[in-house]
């Protein structure tokens, strides 16, 4: 690609259309080893860039469409000069043509896999491994995720929009990236909630049993004192019985999340590339300041939570 192409700016819809068109160009030419799709794509980009060289604003879809119309459908390029003079005829169904077309497409995909440009090869490999995740119980999905991320980064490095390749890469990226994001963002909810509920269950059971354990052996004073304090804290919440227990567990989760997000914010602040690397495309607009803000807001929330927790603990001791 020449530099001219990189100077041209497009509206988002025009950019998407151009990416689709260039994907068609590549697809039309892959089965023709005597033509370099890279070179043709670069020439087409230069052609378009030259058309709009004097434009000082982004190219709109309709402006781009007029140039693409003159360039013509890429499906015709590879067959220039090979068509019949009589032109296309209407026939019931051309089975031979259909089979040849399927064969050409399959060979085209294999050509991409074996000798195609890396960005498309990665995209097809990603999609293939994503499909294989069904019979392999998701094992290949992890590999597909890494191939997909590599394809995205390669396109970014070349300054090209991902275009039609997003349909091949994003299923794997999202299938792994979204659960990973949810696990990292909200992961502590489960262990903190389970710990609070477990402590509550133990304290309640021991109180009902007269502070003896499973073997009817009295627990130590220190243990008993701790459990009594927990139950006293629970009774500081409004309502009664189950509602107090739910509020206690919820309160513990809020504290755990505030602490986790403070740590997470500090980590993301210190390593600003991590969120966009691991959670693309969910956190694409992220920069280091967002990490600092998250740490600050969560830190304040943790401080307020700590104040409430101290008051509850103190009131429980007095009660």
């Amino acid at each position: 690609m020449t530099g001219a192409a990189t100077m041209t700016e497009f509206t988002p819809t025009a950019e998407g259309r151009l990416a689709d068109y260039l994907a068609q160009v590549r697809q039309a030419l892959y089965a023709h080893p005597d033509v370099s799709p890279d070179e043709v794509e670069a020439d087409v980009r230069e052609h378009i860039a030259t058309e709009f060289a004097r434009l000082t604003r982004p190219v709109t879809l309709s402006e781009l469409e007029s140039v693409l119309t003159r360039l013509g459908p890429p499906t015709q390029w590879a067959h220039a000069g090979a068509n019949s003079v009589a032109g296309p005829r209407v026939e019931p169904f051309d089975w031979k043509g259909f089979v040849a077309g399927v064969r050409r497409r399959v060979l085209g995909v294999f050509a991409i896999l074996w000798k195609g440009p890396e960005d498309w090869r990665l995209a097809y490999l990603t999609f293939g491994l994503t499909l294989l995740a069904i019979p392999t119980a998701g094992i290949t999905l992890i590999v597909a995720y890494f191939f997909g991320r590599a394809a995205v980064e390669l396109a970014k490095e070349k300054g090209q929009p991902l275009g039609a390749r997003r349909w091949l890469t994003y299923p794997a990226i999202l299938a792994v990236g979204l659960p990973l994001f949810l696990a990292v963002a909200f992961g502590p909810v489960v262990p903190v909630g389970a710990a609070a509920a477990g402590e509550l269950q133990d304290a309640t059971r021991l109180e009902r049993a007269g502070w003896v354990d499973h073997w009817k052996k009295p627990i130590t004073d220190r243990e008993r004192h701790g459990h009594e304090r927990v139950l006293a804290v629970v009774r500081q919440f409004p309502g009664s019985g189950d509602l107090q227990e739910v509020l206690f567990i919820g309160f513990a989760i809020v504290g755990g999340m505030a602490a986790w997000w403070t740590v997470l914010g500090l980590i993301f602040w210190a390593f600003p590339r991590w969120p966009t690397t691991f959670f693309h495309p969910l956190l694409d607009g992220y920069d280091g300041r967002h990490g600092a803000r998250l740490a600050a807001v969560a830190g304040v929330a943790l401080f307020i939570w700590g104040g409430f927790a101290y008051r509850l603990w103190d009131a429980a001791r007095a009660g």
Binding site: A42, D43, H47, G72, G81, G87
Partner: protein, 115 residues
């Protein structure tokens, strides 16, 4: 006569002559891709789908008929210029000769009358 036939025939004839047209456009000068397309389009619509020229240029390059050079442009970044190689010039001469024969032959059969 089916009017579609003439349209198809004209299209196919132009497609058949496109390779010759591209080589001829490059005779004695170097041009960048966009310029070649513009010249062919301007010259009586020698090219129907402008994009068709680019795969032909790529094939010519692979076959050693043309070579490319990047040249700095006053309007911006470098442009890729195409120019004929000696092999390309030889082929162009042969194709022009063949084309001349066809053209002369058609002229002859359309003007000569049997005794």
């Amino acid at each position: 006569m089916d009017p579609e036939f003439l349209a198809n025939w004209t299209t196919q004839m132009r497609k058949g002559l496109l390779e010759l047209s591209v080589l001829a456009a490059l005779r004695g000068q170097r041009l960048y891709g966009y310029d070649i397309v513009r010249r062919l389009a301007a010259a009586g619509g020698l090219v129907m789908s402008e994009g068709t020229v680019y795969p032909i240029l790529s094939r010519f390059k692979k076959d050693g008929l043309v070579e490319t050079t990047l040249v700095e442009s006053a309007e911006g970044p470098a442009r890729k210029y195409y120019q004929l190689t000696p092999k390309g010039r030889q082929l162009l001469a042969a194709m022009l000769a063949a084309w001349g024969e066809v053209r002369d032959g058609i002229d002859r059969v359309s003007t000569e009358r049997l005794p």
